[in-house]
Amino acid sequence: MSKGGHIMGSKPERDPLEEIKQAQLWVTQSTELRWIDRSVRPSWTRVFLATAAIIIGTFWMPWLTITMTALALVILSILLNLFSVNRTLKEWTRVPEPDLAVEEDEKKKYVCSRGTGGEQHIVGLHLKSVSSDLGGDLGKLIRGVDTGYGLCLTVAMSPQNPKNILEGDILPEALQVYLESMSSNGLRGYMLRRGGLWKASTSVYGHSRDRFALPRFEASVKGAIPEPGWKREKAKDILERIATLQLTRNGAFHASGSELTEWLVQLKSELGPEVGSNVPGEFIAPIRDRLGDYRLGVTINPETLQTGPMAGMSHNDLTGGMLLCGGDWLERRRVMMLLTKQLLDAGKRVMIVSSKPEAMEFAALTDSGIGLTLGTDLVLNPVDAEDIPRSLYVPQLKRALETIADTDLSSAADFELALGRAVALSNATLADVTLPSVNADMMDGTEAPVTDKPSRKTEAGMEAVKVLYQGSGSRAFYGHQTVKLSRLAEQQLSVTVISLGSIILDTFGWDLFSMKLAGLRSDSDLVVIFDGPFNLKLYGPYDSRYKRRVPLTDQLTRDLTRRGPLIVSIERPSGLAKEVVARLSSCISLRLRDNWDIGVATDILGLTVIGHGLHSKARQSSRESSYLRVMEKGIALMVHDGAETCQPIQLDDAPALPPPSTDELSNRTSGIFNGATSDDGHASHKTLIGHVAGSKADLAVSVLRLLQRYEPLTEEALRRFIISSSGQEDMDVEAVLVRLEHASVILRGHESHGGVSYANYRLTMKGTMALHQMAGEQATATG
């Protein structure tokens, strides 16, 4: 054995283990934080020290004490004045009748507030003390309180030093000893793992229009969070708090962060992902009505089947574009009827365009509702631009015709020119879409060089026009338009059915209607409902014909939403192009079954949930979207513009109305058909000739009288006559003749002399009437 050494090594200088004098034994179930009394007590040491200092100071330096006291009082009063609401209010002009006032009620039990929303009564409850086992939780509180009440929950939390709880009677002894045995770091870590130590204060304020409902509120709160420490706050205290904008109090009890999280403060990032198999736990559950919304039903809690406040769409939701999808047509019809009725009652105008003839019954929703069917009552004239600038209209029309031509017409320049010429004419129809002649006659009988034949694309375009003008589309698209869309938009309620029996023709009809509608001026009071729009559908991702349509569809949707409120009703939202869906900001979805449809609806309804934080793998739960598969009839999911997720609603019953008789509908409809197609366009105090020819009216009259006598006259004869009448060789004869021809006062024709064709002019009926008008004006002027 060596000297100074130990077989176990050198001894430590100090035994790291504490020497225990005697054996002790504790048995504890866990080291989890448990409480006996959470109350916050003031520190007596500080109290004694402060008291001692005041006593000594008073006896030793009384003037100092008095001065300090006075100074403190002055500062207090200054501060009170500075930060009081009354001082703040002095900067404002007092109105004779305040629009917001709070005061005690007669019995001085509750607070009465008058302001936006009318008179309401406020009661406040303060949790003075809590038990060691916190009863209830925020969810139960929210669900427990009737949604008719307004609710304000305030939780004031301030972090505390963990050592503050080591003083007696707060924790069980065993735990206290355990915690005392920890180092300060250990104790801090212990508390941090549990969300920290907080001093908390909790108040709940409820308000209701009915004073007598407030006791029920108190009971609801106490029932939801069954803590005996709930005390009603005095009305005066509430008033003071409102006046000083201080609703929170100092902390009254201790709690760890994790306890508070589960009990009162449910932060979004802490929301539990698993909330049941099919019940959407993160749906919006509003607790009050939204004033000004168009009512569709009531909010419903799918878990409890308890109904809530009124639910509906706001006008802003419709302005941003709304999608109505899912279910069968009868269910969507119910939604459309509810919405239409609400809109009509609110003084808005509604235009319904549907691919179903059954939709004609919507016209019965109001006494002045009218119904039109494309191809029967309604003829849409593709070359009538209806005040849309030609440069915008013609390219769109050409694009729309690609559906019928089944080919890309972007390179068909001649065709576009032909369309442009026809659109430029004021009274044209599809029959006026013609290409210039290939051969030109020469005066000496020879043949002019043959110009290039039209391209294949142009010929395809012309064939498409031929289908619309001479083929199966003629009943809907050939002829002057029977009703201008601007006229239709003025009606309070109009229903237009587009059902021609051919997908291609229907698609073109929808395109044409959309183009003309989008060209109307912006009007947020006109709500357009597209029910089953063929032109917005995308038939499968591999259909090349409809892939070409996507830019047109996107542009139409954009223009339509720009024009005003738009509702698109379709059974399968996956049939819509994603560009179209992207432009619709709100949605009402009925039951969906197809995965593709659910995928689209999930996106727009905001049903996707991220279960973890930023750096974690985002998890999308299918459980919430699966709710779409099992929704019952009469239940829908609704999302407002800007909301992150949706709310389930129970739809009201559709208004039951008898459909109007055919005769009644015809009578109403006949009043809006276009009258004379020719556009006189002249002021009542001027003659037509004066309006057309302007300063050359006298000359124009001479020409017309000449034609009346000798028609038809060749262009040459008229030119010579005009030149000799005016006495000027450089007279712009063509201008006079063009003006008269353009106004359809004279008609250009041709006559043949010796096989050579000469242009000639003759008087039209309009010209004859114009001359009579001139004669009448002159007779009035002279006599």
């Binding site: 029959a431 020879t446 009943r475 050939y478 060749t714 000799s724 024709g749 010796g754 242009a759 009926m765």
Partner: protein
């Protein structure tokens, strides 16, 4: 008066005196009673001796101390006929006169002529003037009577025949016609016994050749014939093409000529006979190579020289226009028609009868075993179409090859068009004195060929003529058969929805039970190339070539006429190119109301009628005469009217020409050179200008526009005297 028995003897004796013996078709005509005063219509191919039949009839008239009139279509033909007649019969003491121009003269200076050779228009003008010797006419010979079907001239010819028959009860009509379809129809109307013969002196083979290189094909055909010692006539659409073709062929054909032939050609050109013929400079080298062109731009003497040289075999190739085809009586071995399209309208094809008349010249009697007629087409499709249009194809049983036999069209009347009816209504009322429209329609027009065709043919419209106001209904009835109109009235044709009602357009959809729907339209607008849009239907055939509307358009028209009355009455007649003859004449002041519901011509109307002005030209004249305030304006008005009358747009060269006539002593040849025009054209322009100036004076006098009348009279007298002087110098008596 020579007895009936003596007349045939007299005629045969005269013929024998000039070495002619009737044969073939001539004998048949005699057998049919030609020399007994019976009216005969001879229908046979070119070169079968029809002209002699006419001559025999004229001789018969002379023997009966009755005047005879020989009507020919062209001035050139008249000159030719007169020279032949004079050559043959002048020695017999028969006075033969010719009158082809000067429509404003009344022809009283022709009273002494026993035989008068004149054009259709001049004869018409003489009848309008009601010259007093008309009732002395006993024989009317009409050459190329198939011209009754001519679009612009046929109505006038028909009208002449109608009036002459009314003037003379026992008028003998001898109609000479080229081969046409259904000639008995025309013969029946004329009251003639039909003598028909389709025997050609030389058999004809016709062929259609599709080609993309016409020039090369023409060259091949020409050279194949010329190298085999044959002659070729090549017909072209325009004058320019004839000259260009002649220049192209010159070298190749010239190489085929022997020195001896060239010498003969040159000698002929410079011979004494032709000392007064002005051969254009550019034509001389062509003639030297045996090629020539032939069109109306050449002087008459030059044309005659070409014809003579070709007839004698000196020239191998002649390039001619289709317009003058009727005026050339020259057979050749091969006839090539470079284009079957009409010179006036390149979209239309020549009428079948005209084509066969041209091709019928193929095969020289006594020289060729067979004649060849060739039509060049641009494509196989066109060849097939023209084969169907012009020929009947049969398979030769021996060779198995298809044989084309000409398909002749029947001659139909052109009197029913709005333009012709307008003119003929004035003519009729001037002839009758005063009559109601019903009387004109039933009594006057009822004897027309138009009505005769209506009775013969099955596809006759419900309304043959419309003299009064043309409503939509009347216009539809003019273009639909009675059954269709009746069906439309009973709504059997289908239901109609009118979809388009513009100022100048009426359109709609006609739904036919079990046949779907058609989109139809009547449009009075003009297309970009200057033609009327007219009626259109999605059935693809809005109007047949006979002018009948499809049943959809008839239904639309009837519906529009009842729903849109006023608008339809404006648009539909315009779309169908129907105007009211009486309305136009009344508006122009040419007709006025008489007793009861009769109409009669005004003094102005009678003047216009005798001036032989087209109503459309007169209309322009009436509008412009009040504006004539200076010579410059007068020139421009004259230029415009001449353009209308001649069918050729006149430029400033016209003004230069008139100015040089009025102020210089240049010869016509020099003026033509200065104006860069053909001599023939200059002559025609001056003639036309003179007649128009005369008309302006007459109308201005009627309208008491003295200043205008004086101004125009001055110019007229200058031009008139210069023209007389030139005519007497050149002795261009065409």
């Amino acid at each position: 008066m020579t007895s009936a028995m003596d007349t045939p003897t007299y005629v045969k004796g005269v013929l024998a005196g000039v070495g002619l013996t009737p044969r073939g078709i001539q004998s048949k005509a005699i057998e049919a009673g030609l020399l007994e005063g019976k009216s005969i219509m001879v229908c046979s191919p070119t070169g079968s001796g029809k002209t002699l039949v006419g001559e025999m009839a004229l001789l018969r008239g002379v023997s009966d101390i009755r005047k005879g009139i020989y009507l020919v279509p062209l001035r050139a033909l008249a000159t030719q006929v007169v020279s032949v007649l004079r050559e043959r019969y002048a020695d017999q003491g028969i006075r033969i006169e010719i009158s082809t121009g000067d429509f404003q003269t009344d022809g009283s200076d022709l009273a002494e002529a026993q035989i008068l050779v004149t054009t259709y228009e001049r004869a018409d003008s003489l009848v309008r003037h009601k010259v007093d010797w008309l009732n002395k006419i006993g024989v009317l010979v009409i050459d190329e009577v198939q011209n009754i079907g001519h679009t612009s001239r046929g109505a006038r010819l028909e009208s002449v025949i109608m009036r002459m028959r009314k003037l003379t009860e026992d008028l003998q009509i001898v109609a000479l016609s080229a081969t046409v379809g259904e000639p008995y129809m025309l013969a029946d109307w004329l009251g003639c016994h039909l003598v028909e013969s389709d025997v050609r002196p030389v058999p004809l083979t016709c062929k259609l050749v599709p080609t993309t290189d016409r020039e090369k094909t023409v060259q091949q055909l020409v050279m194949a014939t010329v190298q085999a010692d044959g002659q070729v006539i090549v017909f072209h659409r325009t004058r320019r093409e004839t000259e260009a073709e002649a220049n192209r062929l010159k070298d190749s054909v010239g190489r085929q000529l022997r020195t001896k032939e060239r010498t003969t050609l040159d000698r002929e050109m410079d011979s004494l006979e032709n000392w007064n013929v002005t051969i254009p400079t550019e034509m001389r080298p062509l003639l030297h190579d045996g090629v020539a062109y032939h069109h109306a731009g050449l002087g008459a003497r030059t044309r005659r020289l070409v014809e003579t040289m070709f007839g004698r075999g000196l020239l191998r190739v002649v390039c001619a226009t289709t317009t003058l085809a009727a005026g050339m009586d020259l057979p050749a071995r091969t006839v090539v028609l470079t284009s079957a399209r009409s010179p006036q309208h390149h979209r239309r094809f020549l009428p079948a009868n005209q084509v066969h008349q041209m091709l019928g010249r193929a095969g020289r009697p006594g020289k060729d075993v067979r004649g060849f007629g060739v039509i060049l087409t641009g494509s196989q499709g066109e060849a097939r179409m023209l084969t169907k249009e012009y020929f009947a194809s049969e398979v030769n049983p021996d060779t198995g090859t298809p044989v084309l036999t000409p398909n002749y069209e029947p001659v139909t009347s052109e009197l029913g068009t709005s333009t012709n009816l307008t003119e003929q209504l004035l003519v009729a009322l001037d002839f009758l004195g005063a009559a109601s429209l019903e009387e004109v329609e039933q009594e006057y027009l009822g004897e027309s060929y138009l009505f005769h065709c209506g009775r013969w043919l099955t596809n006759t419209p419900m309304r043959i003529v419309q003299l009064g106001e043309v409503t939509a209904l009347a216009a539809i009835e003019r273009h639909a058969n009675p059954n269709m109109v009746r069906s439309a009235r009973e709504n059997i044709l289908g239901t109609v929805k009118i979809r388009e009602r513009g100022d100048t357009v009426i359109g709609g959809i006609v739904s036919v039970l079990r046949s779907g729907q058609q989109t139809c339209r009547f449009s009075a607008r003009m297309t970009s190339d200057g033609t009327l849009e007219g009626p259109m239907c999605s059935c693809g055939s809005p109007m047949t070539k006979h002018g009948f509307l499809c049943n959809h358009l008839v239904a639309l028209g009837m519906a529009a006429s009842s729903e849109l009355t006023q608008l339809a009455n404006f648009v539909i007649p315009l779309a169908l190119s129907e105007t009211s003859p009486s309305g136009l004449l009344i508006r122009l002041g040419l007709l006025e109301g008489g007793e009861g519901d009769k109409l009669r011509p005004t003094t102005l109307g009678r003047t216009v009628n005798r001036l032989y002005l087209k109503i459309s030209t007169f209309k322009e004249m009436m509008a412009l005469i009040p504006t004539i305030e200076s010579n410059i304006v007068l020139m421009s008005v004259l230029r415009h009217l001449v353009s209308l009358e001649t069918g050729q747009k006149q430029g400033e060269t016209f003004d230069t020409l008139i100015a040089s006539v009025a102020s210089t002593n240049l010869s016509m040849r020099e003026m033509a050179r200065l104006a860069n025009l053909a001599v023939g054209d200059v002559k025609a322009l001056l003639d036309k200008s003179r007649s128009l100036l005369y008309s302006i004076v007459a109308v201005a006098d009627r309208g008491n526009m003295e200043r205008v009348s004086e101004m125009v009279h001055d110019l007229l007298s200058i031009i008139d005297s210069r023209l007389h002087h030139m005519e007497s110098e050149n002795n261009d008596s065409d």
